[in-house]
């Protein structure tokens, strides 16, 4: 489903980034990097409303020809970025429908980010993980991989 998943620290350095296929890794790194500006923009645009609502899902950040980039930000300003293949109609159709209905919660994108967030929380709770380090967790790896192969 997703082709690249990245976790970005509050200070905008990568904590975790993984993509399939691996040969295009650099391209995805650029893509995620570019998206950070959009994330910042969205956060400052939503400003207080975002904090009040505790709405963490930023939705579609920007589409490119082949891919779509989605974003999510936690209350501690850790960002999750997901690059999805545009040809994946299953995600897109549902997305459009529910956005017009005005409820993010029903979108598969939202649920994927929730899953990612929960898994990230578990990583943070591991006493052997130092906050701010790169994430090297087998459980997190497996979860990310499962999200990437889901529909492909």
């Amino acid at each position: 489903m997703a082709v690249c998943i990245a976790v970005i620290a509050k200070e905008n350095y990568p904590l975790y980034i993984r993509s399939t296929p691996t040969e295009n890794e650099l391209k995805f790194h650029y893509m995620v990097h570019t998206s950070l500006d959009v994330v910042d923009e969205k956060i400052s645009a939503m400003g207080k409303a975002l904090v009040d609502q505790r709405e963490l899902y930023l939705g579609l950040l920007y589409p490119t020809e082949d891919y779509k980039v989605y974003g999510y930000v936690t209350n501690s300003k850790v960002k999750f970025v997901m690059v999805v293949d545009s040809s994946n109609t299953a995600l897109r159709d549902n997305e459009i429908r529910s956005v017009s209905a005005g409820d993010w919660r029903t979108t598969p994108g939202w649920w994927m980010f929730r899953k990612l967030h929960n898994s990230y929380t578990d990583v943070m709770c591991n006493p052997f993980y130092n906050p701010g380090d790169r994430i090297q967790s087998r459980a997190f790896d497996n979860m990310v991989m499962s999200m990437m192969i889901q529909v492909c």
Binding site: V123, C125, P127
Partner: protein, 180 residues
């Protein structure tokens, strides 16, 4: 994961996350303080022992269990009463040795290791070794010398966590005069 605030028999709930994270902080601090895992294991066992010798008083006062007549009964009390009371889990007892002096406690889920993933450079760390110390300390106070050790651990990729308990001997010499 229950712990009493007052000295009554009712147990009070506490957040399992807080408990797990506290234990995690303890173990990681020990890992920083000691160079190798063997020392950390030893230290955890020692701390557990010190907890155990105190905890047994609390346990006997609150649980109202009587004297155990054989090791099997002791095993039952440990699994069904003690683990339930302090960790909120009930391990199963299996693998009795023919002589009846060894058994295994199987922990389906160990509340100490929620969230934990052992890093590769700590492969010989016995993360929950505190429990062995507690068991050893507590039983020593009721005149039983036992050996407790982990033989399987979910952190190391095993399906379950198994603590092997071995009865060594009854401690006779430090019985106070007039008892028994």
């Amino acid at each position: 994961m229950s712990r009493q605030a007052n000295r009554g028999t009712e147990s009070k709930k506490m957040s399992s996350e807080l408990f797990t994270l506290t234990y995690g902080a303890l173990v990681t601090q020990l890992c920083k303080d000691y160079e190798n895992d063997e020392d950390v294991n030893k230290q955890l066992d020692k701390m557990g022992y010190n907890i155990g010798v105190r905890l047994i008083e609390d346990f006997l006062a609150r649980s109202n269990v009587g004297r155990c007549h054989d090791f099997r009964e002791t095993a039952d009390v440990i699994a069904k009463v003690a683990f339930k009371m302090y960790l909120g889990i009930t391990p199963s007892i299996t693998n009795w040795s023919p002589a009846g002096d060894e058994f295994s406690l199987i922990l389906e889920n160990n509340p100490l290791v929620d969230f934990v993933e052992l890093p590769d450079n700590h492969s010989s760390l016995i993360y929950s070794n505190l429990l062995c110390g507690v068991l050893r300390g507590a039983l020593e106070m009721v005149q039983m010398a036992v050996e407790a050790k982990f033989v399987q651990d979910t952190l190391k990729g095993d399906g379950v966590t198994e603590i092997r308990m071995r009865f060594i001997r009854r401690i006779e010499d430090n019985l106070p005069a007039g008892e028994e």
